[in-house]
Symmetry: C2
Amino acid sequence: MPSYKAPLEDVGFLLNDVFQFDRYNNLPGFADASADVREAILGEAAKLSENVLQPLNRVGDLEGCKRHDDGSVTTPKGFKDAFKQVAEGGWLGLSAPAEYGGQGLPVTLSQTVAEFQISANMAFSMYGGLTMGATAALIVHGKDEQKSKYLPKMIAGEWTGTMNLTEPHCGTDLGLLRTKAVKQDDGSYKITGTKIFISAGEHDMADNIIHLVLARIEGAPAGIKGVSLFVVPKVLVNDDGSLGARNGVVCGSIEHKMGIHGNSTCVMNYDNATGWLIGEENKGMQGMFVMMNEARLGVAVQGLAQSEVAYQNAVAYAKDRLQGRSLTGPKSPDKPADSIMVHPDVRRTLLTIRAFNEAARAMVVWTALKSDVAHRSDDAKERQAADDHMGLMTPVLKGILTDGGFANAVSAQQMFGGHGYIAEWGMEQFVRDARIAMIYEGANGIQALDLVGRKLPRDGGRAAMAFFGEVAAFAKEHGGDEAMKPYVDPLSNALGHLQQATMWLMNNAMAKPDNAGAGATDYMQLFGLTAFAYMWAKMAKIAQDKIAAEGATPFLTTKLVTGRFFMERMLPETALHLARIQTGAATTMELPAEAF
Amino acid sequence: MPSYKAPLEDVGFLLNDVFQFDRYNNLPGFADASADVREAILGEAAKLSENVLQPLNRVGDLEGCKRHDDGSVTTPKGFKDAFKQVAEGGWLGLSAPAEYGGQGLPVTLSQTVAEFQISANMAFSMYGGLTMGATAALIVHGKDEQKSKYLPKMIAGEWTGTMNLTEPHCGTDLGLLRTKAVKQDDGSYKITGTKIFISAGEHDMADNIIHLVLARIEGAPAGIKGVSLFVVPKVLVNDDGSLGARNGVVCGSIEHKMGIHGNSTCVMNYDNATGWLIGEENKGMQGMFVMMNEARLGVAVQGLAQSEVAYQNAVAYAKDRLQGRSLTGPKSPDKPADSIMVHPDVRRTLLTIRAFNEAARAMVVWTALKSDVAHRSDDAKERQAADDHMGLMTPVLKGILTDGGFANAVSAQQMFGGHGYIAEWGMEQFVRDARIAMIYEGANGIQALDLVGRKLPRDGGRAAMAFFGEVAAFAKEHGGDEAMKPYVDPLSNALGHLQQATMWLMNNAMAKPDNAGAGATDYMQLFGLTAFAYMWAKMAKIAQDKIAAEGATPFLTTKLVTGRFFMERMLPETALHLARIQTGAATTMELPAEAF
């Protein structure tokens, strides 16, 4: 059976040292999260994840969710109780606004807690995660009465939330959606249609489920400009907040999925369900984008979280498994064989995962801090810069962390040999669960297109230029430092590749957009690697400073070696991506479709 | 529901044109496989795979195998009938010796048939595949009476075979195995122990199961030099060939696996089971190596086969799925959206899979031909050269085709968006089934070590030098041909990287073997890419010649474009592998195990 320990030391290093959380004390909520408060909160979050959520991970996979004939759904044994603990512990509202019952703490903190919970039990964590995504859309675009009606209950975890976008014939291209909304005299709408892939669409863990639903109002323009967003509660809510009649929405079936069996992924049938408009008519995508950006970061963290737990279990197995002898002679001559940790190929695999995880975690903390600044700073320029960063990095994080997270789960499984293929060891569940993160909330190919086609050129490339400038300034500042050379030189080289690729796209993709499409995924990977390298260089600098000031510790020494491994073994991939981008689209687009 | 069409045109191109099968007519069995006979056989094999085996693929996944309290195992509905058809059609004995009832046709042909059957139904195909592996060991190392007792029934598919290597505490390091054999007065042995991960270990499709079992004879030396190979039938066979008493071997349980549910993967308990020595005492690994080499090629074909069927279904979906518009303006303005085939990122993905599949298939045919030469030529030098090739390419094929096959199944699944994660579409089964091929018959890290540590240096590097020489000669011969430049120049560049990497290992890994271990996987990938490039250059040359002689066809034009895609987009990866190899082991091995 797999196990999990929350990476508290690494998180502490990032929050306290690398990103100096306390520098942001001028922002609302930060002063309330002083170092000792953070430590207490994260310690409790770790315990909850390790002791309550993780033991339910395999239970959820084995039992799955069961739909009954009346459309109700039973979640796996233990999920309901665990959700109650999460709700009553206030974990859902950690960074939600105080006026709706939240604690108003920084998103940086709740995102870290999310990593722990997802590592422990990804399928379970989605019930709360989607609820937080739905509250985010309501907070930004909801009317006051909608906010006061729904938010306190959702933030308290008494009710949960969902996102209803996909229909059988459309996912990526939501302009094709057919679910219709008919306006009623009282200002409400009657919603009719079928939505698929609705995570947490129906379950038994909360008294009500607040569905946010994209639909087309009768007579609306065709395409994406005729799509509106509605709030459609499973149970209608009276004006006094009590629950009223059942609404016309029901779970038609549960999907049979490759993984995340503990989450009920539903086909939801809306049959004249009563809903209320969120935001303006035909502007539904605005509200949905708030949820999607929130959700994309959450999905990125799923990639990291599955990679982390898979790594931990692979390391434990590798230390324990005796098989063969070191190439340089027996290391445990008293035992029948050495542990497989003596094999360079095993270490190469484990270090690749570890170097990914630590850079990914740094990226998440960095971007979460920007999210806090974007939402909480009173300086418009600071807010804009932070928002630029978020827009640019969201597709990168979603694409890179989920591609890498899955690949790492596969590598970690490989360390177990045949046992990795056997369900009881738990590794194959990590692989199956991690797989979905590459697909939902915009498949990774779409993330790459979003980066290259939208986020990169936006505002004349302002966001990307700011990132390039920041990295170049770091490299310049520390380029003369001999100890930093193993980190700064490769970083500068990678930045050069990224800038060449960007230039190539500017020169070749304006007139021929297929050149952008053909290079999009490689550009996203090149961008991610460069951002990872920047994270590693920053972490190395802080580690060196701390060693100089306080002496070496195993944690800091390991950090420096892992960073060097990243620079030597992983970062050289940037040249490959640049080469691919520069080949353009000609060969890729040459064949007629029938030739495939 | 997924579908499958055997790639007959591509196979015909390889057999008839690229490798000129008829040149080998001097070898036994080849003249019997003239072009029209081949076409007839492959056409029948295609029909069987498409119409009988493929429809059972999902059934097998859903039902799995069921063990009953008496240790018997029921295979999924339809498997027994299908196996009867395969057996009665003579498919198991296609290239088995005529003296035991086989047809004596070239392995090149049976390997191609195997690809079709594995694409159609991987779990099913393993019952026959393992039987053929077991017969190979018996043919080479069995005593005459063992051969006449077991081979005819196995080749006829009345009985099946297994390989029993792994025990709970050892897989890779078989020297640790504990199953013991005690010699009896009549020359037989009593075998006692537990074997795990025994594919096709127990089932209801044949009257008897012939287990080949590694065990340690009482008093044998410790380690791998004390391991012997035994034949242990499930039901004892009387001297007249009739079935006698049940032997002391029983299926203790069926493993719960990530995939290949249609194959019964068993824990086998041997309790004083009667067995007979194959080959000499303590030389069991010799017989096992015959099976393992056979099996490794078979597993390599599993990688290719799953990649091929996943590709076919991804293409069908991509042509059918309307979503979004082309970046260069609507391509189907009369429809609500364009098919996703208009998107460069979709084509990039599909071409990557296709370019892999066609190169991989060429590698398999090339190597199968060498296997035929090695076993059937009467020229000792020719046999040796062919055997060198087999030894060198077996780990490369196993590692590269299964790593790539799995990655391609994942990419093909990605084309389906959310539907790819849903069981009914069948794509996630391809992923789960393909995953095992990276693990069994020697995990791919072991293949890489086998290549770098054993196959490369063997006989002073003779096999590798021959391969380098052949590729260099091809490049020299066609380097001046302008039309071949897009293929030959990248091939030469890749060969240069491979030679540099080989030189680096010679100079750096003798004294420090960890340098070989740390670079092994990258070296295997670099080797595989270079071999693929050679296959593509050969195929391009033949395609160009055929176009010049007979005019262009869609097949030949597509071949040339796909080959250019490989050279432009996939082959540049060789530089990355070289860079990684040249970093050596220092950083990888720097940390103490506790630091992980």
